[in-house]
């Protein structure tokens, strides 16, 4: 068999994008719940949620950029299934980024609590 090795942790590229999305989702939901329970002023809470959203969007964007750049530079040199994992990872990061925007948009305008 071939001697080439692709470490098992490369599989984690596949869920990377949506792991960031899930973390963003949980942090946004938890912050909103805590803010409402402790009756934070609406502007403060909104500011925090916007900051969190931007932080995670930035994180997702950076991750997409790094994986994409790595794939462009190394796609031909790497053995299977590394390129496939990178491609699926890039798809995942891109769609998770869009999903993050979709979930974060209500932060801009929706009323905070009950």
């Amino acid at each position: 068999m071939g001697e080439a090795h692709v470490p098992a942790n490369r599989i984690l590229l596949i869920p990377l994008g949506f792991t960031i999305w899930a973390a963003a989702f949980v942090v946004l939901y938890a912050t909103n719940a805590i803010g409402c329970a402790f009756e934070w002023p609406s502007a403060v809470q909104r500011g925090m949620l916007i900051a969190i959203s931007l932080g995670f969007l930035g994180l997702g964007g950076v991750a997409w950029h790094l994986v994409h750049r790595h794939w462009e530079r190394n796609a031909k040199a790497e053995v299977a299934p590394a390129p496939t994992l990178s491609i699926i990872g890039i798809y995942g990061l891109g769609s998770a980024f869009v999903a993050m925007i979709g979930v974060a948009i209500p932060v801009l305008a929706t009323s905070m609590c009950i």
């Binding site: 080439a4 909103n32 299977a80 491609i87 995942g92």
Partner: protein, 840 residues
């Protein structure tokens, strides 16, 4: 290294030798079966039996609702009927059916001889059968669950459901869930490790990708429900008020835990069906699937997004507006990856040369019904519409379009597609066509009209209705449709029986498929492949006819029988590089014994015979020791020949063996349960009424000694492994672990005894639950250390063969981490409760 590869005998002789090793014996020996083909079929047949029972219940529901003011059944019985219908269909049909299909197909599609843990497969089946039987038999005694398949509190709490109805659901479903999680772990490890050499991840068939994602969703999705069931049973049996708002609990905590499981569950059911569709459509389109990579990305997206939707089942309970918007957005977004798959299937058909046969008819039914269900799902994702349609028949219509469209139609297609594989016969009758149309028309007549009754205001779960609301004709037509649907299923069953009995025999690969499952005799032999293939292209584009003949002649890997052992191969997770030899356990009655003992624990708990439950729990754990007793090798082996001139070590001599990975995934499931418990504690603190509590739970300094002991135990476990690697005597270190774990149990018991009455307030109850979790894990560590000693005494441990010690390290590391987190949370609770002063 000399080549000691056993000679490949003639194909007939090889078949006889392998059949003797892998086959299931006659008569009572069938109860000892561990073979994936046998167990997979049992799962599917049992699931269809439960499907028939669930269908019968549905007919009784429709008979009752056919006319207004009907007195066919009373309200109590009606509550049992709809609760049992949902429970049976979701827990006893859908999940086991997909498990059965995966168990039957996966090794064959991956090029392995069996799943990674055949005894676990059998144990899972017996747990499913016993758990399902307990639930169904309860109907005969009139004590079936009657609080809905979702078991909402406070309706299911002791004051409002004082009988054992709810207990049967909680214990029976948990029993079945054990089966599901064990199957999920097994499927995950099998897909990652037991593929044919050369099958890198990018060559894996889509069905395996679907099942991998589904199994991981089960690993992470089911523990919240298992935890919720345990907490509710603790409340019902011992009064710990997790869901009682008067004592600091919250009924909404149950809804969160239930739907954290419940919504991913919909996709857990849909994804395997979609995997089957992704396998069948290329066969009938006569071209490879379009968008292989995009589909994998879509499956992963779907899996994650499905965990972010659960609150859309709770839009009307009163949660912050912004949270509604988060979940509404996620619920709408999930349609996109679903659509990606649908467009990929349509593109495959559009770019291929489609030929039509019975499976395609059911796939057509799937497209129509599932797309309608998906569109009404997007409607329900919108908060204003959801609040109008909530708990109405519109939701009943939607969920049936999604579940029947997304699971039943594809499964019927899959049955027609793979039944020739199972029976070795092809259908000669055309009953399947009228059966399809009866099912399709009956289904749409039944459920499409429910959209209208729902929009006209008919609530769910009412046992009757007055005649002046305009619902009469719609309900009557729905009931007529239900009976047409039943006739269709009856015809389908007749068709299957006829095919089993009178179907024509065929040689191989009846559909001209291009996956490995057809590169074998049909019906399949017990060992699946006489020799294992080497994969050099994507595994959904092979030529089964050529490859099958070569493999039957023993020209692949392991084309021989050796030492009466069940052997298959494991590969590197990513590249599919040949890695090690896996020796599987032979047929045994132990899974049946262990499942019987586990069932006894459930029954004793059900009837509040707690001493008996403890005795049987100890007996169950002891039976698992018996599983481990003779597993492994007593001497170092080194690399052994596996054919094609290659040598690999046996599984017990490698680090990343299948049991090690199984432990990783089991602890992942366990970690999800622990995270759900922490979530529950914090949720109650933040949201539940009747906080702050009158009394703070303070376990004293025992609380801090216990995690210290856990950390020490973890360090000693690593130390024992290190000593073993250097060839030293590690037994004293294992003895030390036994003593430290015993001490940890005592410390946590003292901490528990220092608590105020845990029935007084949910805060004290959650602290007790976290301590109880630590207690159980210390006891588990004690068992692992004992097992290590037992294995060492039997000669099963050496510097090379260190699996029992490494499993112990994993367990003790996990226990230490969760122990520290649990202690920190308990320690922080007084401060957190102090923060509530002035706010609540």
């Amino acid at each position: 290294m000399t080549d000691l590869t056993p000679e490949t005998p003639s194909p007939i002789r090889l078949h006889k030798q392998l059949e003797r090793i892998w086959g299931t014996g006659p008569g009572l020996q069938r109860l000892a079966a561990v073979n994936h083909t046998v167990i997979g079929k049992r799962f599917m047949i049992t699931a269809f039996v439960f499907f028939a029972i669930g269908g019968l219940l549905a007919m009784l529901i429709r008979a009752q609702l056919a006319t207004p003011n009907a007195a066919f059944v009373g309200p109590e019985l009606y509550n049992q009927l709809f609760s049992m219908h949902g429970t049976v269909m979701m827990f006893l049909f859908a999940i086991p059916m997909l498990e059965g299909l995966a168990i039957y197909l996966l090794p064959k599609m991956l090029g392995a001889r069996d799943l990674a843990f055949p005894r676990l497969t059998a144990y899972g089946y017996w747990c499913y059968l016993f758990g399902g039987t307990i639930i169904v038999v309860s109907m005969l005694f009139g004590v079936a669950p009657d609080s809905g398949w979702f078991m909402y509190t406070p309706l299911s709490s002791q004051p409002y459901t004082p009988g054992i109805n709810a207990d049967i659901w909680l214990l029976g479903v948990t029993f079945v869930e054990i089966s599901a999680v064990s199957a999920a772990i097994e499927i995950t490890v099998t897909i990652l490790k037991l593929r044919a050499p050369g099958m890198s991840l990018n060559r894996m068939p889509l069905f395996a990708w679907y099942m991998l994602v589904t199994a991981l969703m089960m690993v992470f999705g089911f523990p919240p429900l298992i935890l919720g069931s345990i907490l509710l049973e603790l409340e019902r049996a011992f009064g710990l008020p997790f869901f009682d708002p008067e004592r600091g609990g919250d009924p909404l905590l149950w809804q969160h835990l239930f739907w954290l499981f419940g919504h991913p569950e919909v996709y857990i059911i849909f994804l395997p069906a979609a995997g089957a569709i992704s396998t069948m459509i290329p066969v009938f389109a006569q071209r490879k699937i379009v968008g292989y990579h995009a589909i994998i990305a879509a499956i992963v997206a779907l899996a994650f997004l499905s965990f972010g939707l659960w609150v859309h089942h709770m839009f009307t309970v009163g949660i912050p507006h912004l949270a509604l918007a988060f979940f509404s957005a996620a619920s709408a977004i999930v349609a996109i990856p679903t659509a990606v798959q649908i467009f990929a299937w349509l593109a495959t058909l559009a770019h291929g040369r489609p030929r039509f046969d019975i499976p395609m008819l059911y796939i057509f039914g799937f497209f129509v019904v599932f797309v309608i269900g998906g569109l009404t799902g997007v409607m329900l994702a919108m908060v204003p519409f959801n609040q109008q349609a909530h708990d109405s028949y519109f939701v009943v219509a939607h969920l049936h379009y999604v579940l029947v469209g997304g699971f039943v139609f594809p499964m019927l297609a899959a049955v027609y597609f793979w039944l020739p594989h199972i029976t070795g016969r092809q259908s000669v009758h055309r009953i399947s066509v009228p059966a399809f149309w009866l099912i399709f028309i009956g289904f749409n007549l039944t459920f499409f009209l429910m959209h209208l009754t729902g929009l006209m205001g008919m609530p769910r779960r009412i046992y009757t209705y007055p005649s002046n609301f305009g619902w009469d004709w719609l309900n009557l037509l729905s009931s007529v449709g239900g009976f047409i649907l039943t006739m269709g299923f009856a015809l389908f069953a007749v068709d299957l029986i006829l095919q089993f009995r009178f179907g024509r025999h065929f040689r191989r690969n009846i559909w001209k498929a291009s996956t490995l499952d057809w590169a074998m005799p049909t019906r399949p032999t017990s060992y699946a492949f006489a020799s294992l293939p080497k994969i050099e292209e994507r595994a959904d584009g092979i030529d089964p006819d050529r490859l099958g003949a070569e493999l039957a002649a023993g020209k692949g890997y392991l084309g021989f029988a050796r030492n009466n052992r069940m052997e298959t191969l494991a590969v590197d997770m990513t590249t599919g590089r040949l890695e090690h030899l896996v020796v599987l356990p032979n047929a045994t009655y132990l899974p049946l014994l262990s499942a019987g003992l586990t069932g006894s624990v459930v029954l004793c708990t059900l009837f509040k015979l707690y001493i008996g439950a403890i005795v049987f729990a100890i007996a169950t754990v002891s039976s698992f020791f018996l599983w481990s007793r003779t597993t492994g090798l007593t001497t170092d082996s080194g690399p052994v020949p596996v054919g094609n001139g290659e040598f690999v070590p046996p599984d017990v001599e490698v680090d990343g063996s299948t049991p090690w990975w199984a432990m990783v995934f089991a602890l992942s499931a366990n970690g999800t349960l622990f995270a759900s418990l922490i979530f529950g504690a914090l949720y109650l603190w933040l949201v539940a009424p009747a906080w702050p509590p009158a009394e703070i739970a303070d376990p004293g300094f025992w609380l801090w000694l216990a995690p210290v002991a856990m950390i020490v135990s973890s360090i000693v476990a690593r130390w024992a492994t290190g000593i073993n690697r250097q060839g030293g005597n590690f037994a004293p270190a294992l003895f030390a672990i036994v003593i430290i774990d015993g001490l940890t149990i005592v410390l946590i018991s003292l901490a528990l005894s220092a608590l105020p009455d845990p029935t007084a307030h949910a805060h004290i109850a959650t602290v007790a639950a976290i301590l109880g979790y630590g207690w159980l894990h210390a006891a588990g560590g004690f068992c692992f250390a004992l097992n290590g000693l037992m294995k060492a005494r039997g000669g099963y441990v050496s510097a090379r063969r260190s699996l029992p010690l490494r499993l112990s390290v994993l367990w003790h590391d996990y226990t230490a981490v969760t122990g520290v987190i649990g202690a920190l949370l308990i320690g922080a609770m007084p401060m957190l409760i102090g923060m509530l002063e002035g706010v609540r």
